[in-house]
């Protein structure tokens, strides 16, 4: 009995196992069948989708031209409807990444908006970082600095003009928010005779760096020569500029800007320097009496393609206008700029490339005679010559990575008469700076940059600074100017 019982249970076990196995294999079979059905369904679907697309495309090909006059077109000036698919396909999204924050109406954009935020964190051995870093957007304190929060509005105004306005926000070392109307100008679209007029408030086309915004720079801070001659916020002001694209076989363009010569953005001109003496002299009140009291900025730029992969762009500029040190005192600044770039003819996302940019400037400052007052002894009139240049190399060695090196040097021709009376002026003292940097662009819309500055100032000695900069860009697609 006992044995029989064992046998029974054994058989039951075996049959159960077999049954289980059978179930499993059946399940697998079913699964496999389902998988095959799915696969063939997908294939059929894919095939039919292709057939549909091919048919649609053939219809498109046949309808593009001949159907055009018959098709009602959206704009009367467009007899050929550019969208054969409009009738059959779903409408394209009315929003593009080129202008994600765009005011749209129907098919057109009226205002493109973009915003870039530039922040830096770092430290320096200098005890006077505010006078070490000369640029208006430079980090001027240990810790964090919001260098530039820039909003850009741009668009076509009408058939005649394009308009652009850059309004920027900054937080100064005291924590105050500064709002600046940096640019607001219109530009003609198609004047005859290859002319173009720009009018309003704009950054003057003097040299290469001056007309660009800080987020487009290859370094955290402004070159010393730019800050010393053209001012921490660059040379800009309300004015008008005419340019002419010359009919030469290569690119060459002639510019002439006329602008107001006063204020802190006309640094070496009619600028009261917030009541502080400049180059020894307190500022005189000077009004505009003749056209000659405005600021004139001529420029000539030439570009040549040296080869398939190398381009050179060179320019000569001048800025001529009155200054506040005397009733008839003038300032002349002359500059030469050179930009050379090699970009691999087989670049991937714009890399690799090497670029070299150099600007040299000379300032001739007619300092007026000063009769003397309680604070300042009498000073004779004199002419001050100052020089400066920077040279920088950027090497984009793999996609998104750029190594940079910049050298800065500013120097006076000789010690001025007023310096013999008042002592050496840090605004003219010779100094130089070396700045290696490394930048990573995770995408076209963000960047991280590490920069080291080795500064050497006459009298004050050497200083070391390290800055880490980060940026993001929202809105319109970054358009790269050469």
């Amino acid at each position: 009995m006992k044995r029989r019982g064992i046998w029974t249970s054994f058989l039951a076990c075996v049959s159960a196992a077999a049954l289980h196995a059978q179930e499993v294999s059946e399940l697998e079979l079913l699964r496999k069948e389902l998988q095959e059905l799915r696969e063939s369904f997908r294939r059929v679907q894919e095939q039919q989708r292709r057939q549909i697309e091919a048919l649609e495309q053939r219809i498109d090909a046949l309808t593009v031209a001949p159907a055009a006059p018959a098709q009602p077109s959206p704009a009367p000036s467009e007899p050929l409807s550019p969208s054969p698919k409009a009738a059959t396909a779903a409408p394209a999204p009315s929003r593009t990444l080129a202008a994600p924050v765009t005011l749209w109406g129907g098919q057109g954009s009226y205002l493109n908006l973009s915003l870039s935020a530039l922040t830096t964190v770092g430290t320096s051995t200098a005890s006077d970082i505010e006078s070490l870093q000369l640029g208006g957007h430079d980090p001027k304190q240990r810790g964090f600095t919001l260098q530039n929060l820039e909003t850009v509005f741009d668009g076509k105004v009408d058939p005649y003009f394009r308009g652009q306005a850059n309004v920027i926000f900054q937080i100064d070392p005291e924590g105050e928010t500064i709002v600046e109307a940096e640019e607001a100008y219109l530009e003609t679209l198609a004047l005859p005779a290859n002319l173009q007029v720009k009018a309003g408030l704009f950054m003057t086309e003097f040299g290469r760096l001056n007309p660009t915004h800080p987020h487009a720079w290859d370094f955290v801070d402004q070159p010393l020569v730019n800050a010393r001659f053209l001012g921490g916020d660059g040379l800009r002001g309300p004015g008008a500029r005419l340019s002419w694209l010359a009919p030469t076989p290569f690119y060459s363009e002639l510019f002439l800007a006329v602008a107001n010569s006063q204020g802190e953005t006309a640094f070496s001109f009619r600028n009261n320097h917030e009541g502080e003496p400049f180059l020894g002299r307190p500022a005189l009140e000077r009004d505009v009496e003749t056209v000659g009291d405005l600021l004139f900025v001529p420029r000539y730029a030439v570009s040549l393609d040296l080869s398939e992969s190398q381009t050179i762009l060179a320019g000569a500029s001048a800025a001529l206008g009155p200054n506040s040190s005397g009733a008839h005192a003038d300032t002349q600044i002359y500059g030469l700029d050179l930009f050379w770039k090699w970009k691999s003819p087989r670049h991937h996302g714009g890399f690799p490339f090497v670029s070299w940019q150099t600007e040299a400037m000379m300032r001739r400052f007619e300092a007026g005679a000063f009769p003397g007052d309680v604070q300042t002894p009498p000073l004779p009139d004199e002419t001050l010559y100052d020089y400066g240049f920077y040279s920088q190399v950027a090497y984009g060695f793999r996609k998104g990575w750029v190594a940079g090196w910049r050298g800065d040097y500013v120097v006076p021709e000789s010690q001025a008469g007023y310096e013999q009376v008042l002592g050496p002026d840090p605004a003219r003292a010779s100094r130089w700076r070396i700045s290696p940097s490394l930048t990573w662009y995770p995408s076209e819309f963000s960047k991280l940059r590490l920069q080291y500055n080795y500064d050497r100032r006459q009298e004050l000695g050497e200083d070391h600074s390290v800055w880490f900069q980060f940026e993001f860009l929202l809105g319109s697609h970054a358009v790269h100017q050469f």
Partner: protein, 302 residues
């Protein structure tokens, strides 16, 4: 007096008596099609080189010069040239090619663009093209549409040569039709082949010839892959039977090579543009080359 007439005759002979449209194309492919359709009555210059990444062309000042003198500008649109062409067109101050002037031919709107995102897009998805994939010239059928658009517009701008342009178009369309049949036949045995590309540049080509795109080396459009992304890609594609990794000549090879080894695929370098390799000189040549390369590579692959 007689001499004076002779000089006048010479002068007329030397001056460009033959009306020629000065055509500037953003990429050599559009330039090649303009040459095919326009023949002797157009003078064509292309801005981007066939060997470079069309999204990241330097806005050289010499291009301003070219655009300033252009009668016609041909561009792809759909953000293909968004990073460099708009400022050049502004700087060129040439009313013939600005806005919706008849001299400005934007091709994107004439083409049924693939890969139009279905949902909302933002840049966390990479640099997605919201109007659709702009690499549309890699479908030969789209070449026919482009040629037709060009013929139409050239005829409008130079009505006296309308017949000539239409004749060229007809000849090209006929040749392309027979070529497409040949290319389809050559690649017919390989339909369904699974392919990985670097950027989504070859979608139109793959789709036309029945290949299946199963992944891209870029993790998102325009975003370089991280090591962890490549590892996840390898895991996903192992055993899937990917036969080809197709990259343009200008892409770095290290990651494609690595991926090819890891998943047992073959790396195939194909130009995405006319003049991308020296052998490819015109639009039909681009497909002759790419089809031949693909077919011969797949023959060697088990």
């Amino acid at each position: 007096m007689k001499f004076a007439w002779l000089f006048l005759g010479l002068g007329l002979g030397l001056s460009p008596a033959r009306a020629e449209l000065n055509v500037v194309a953003s990429i050599p492919d559009f330039g090649a099609l303009a040459r095919t359709v326009g023949g002797d009555h157009v003078r064509v210059t292309s801005l981007a080189k066939g060997t470079e990444d069309a999204h990241f062309v330097d806005a050289r000042p010499s291009f301003i010069r070219l655009l300033n003198r252009a009668d016609v500008l041909i561009e792809g649109g759909a953000e293909l040239e968004a990073g460099w062409l708009p400022t050049l067109v502004n700087a060129a101050r040439n009313g013939k090619i600005q806005g919706n002037a008849r001299g400005r031919i934007v091709l994107g709107p004439y083409i049924r663009l693939a890969g139009v995102p279905a949902g909302p897009v933002d840049r966390s998805q990479g640099d997605v093209h919201p109007l659709g994939n702009p690499h549309f010239w890699l479908d030969p059928e789209n070449g026919k549409i482009i040629a037709r658009v060009l013929a139409e517009r050239f005829s409008e701008l130079e009505p006296s040569h309308k017949g000539y342009f239409q004749e060229n178009l007809a000849r090209f369309s006929k040749e392309l039709d027979s070529k497409v049949t040949g290319w389809q036949e050559a690649l017919a045995p390989n339909r369904g082949t699974k392919v990985v590309t670097y950027h989504q540049s070859f979608d139109y080509f793959l789709n036309r010839f029945g290949f299946e795109l199963v992944g891209t080396i870029e993790s998102k459009p325009g975003i370089e892959p991280s090591a962890s992304y490549i590892n996840s890609l390898i895991q996903r594609l192992q055993g899937v039977g990917v036969k080809l990794i197709v990259v343009e000549p200008y892409r770095p090879r290290r990651i494609p090579d690595y991926l090819a080894q890891a998943i047992g695929a073959t790396l195939l370098v194909l130009p995405d543009k006319v003049e991308g390799v020296p052998a490819v000189k015109d639009f039909i040549g681009l497909f002759d080359y790419n089809v031949a390369q693909t077919a011969s590579t797949l023959k060697e692959v088990p």
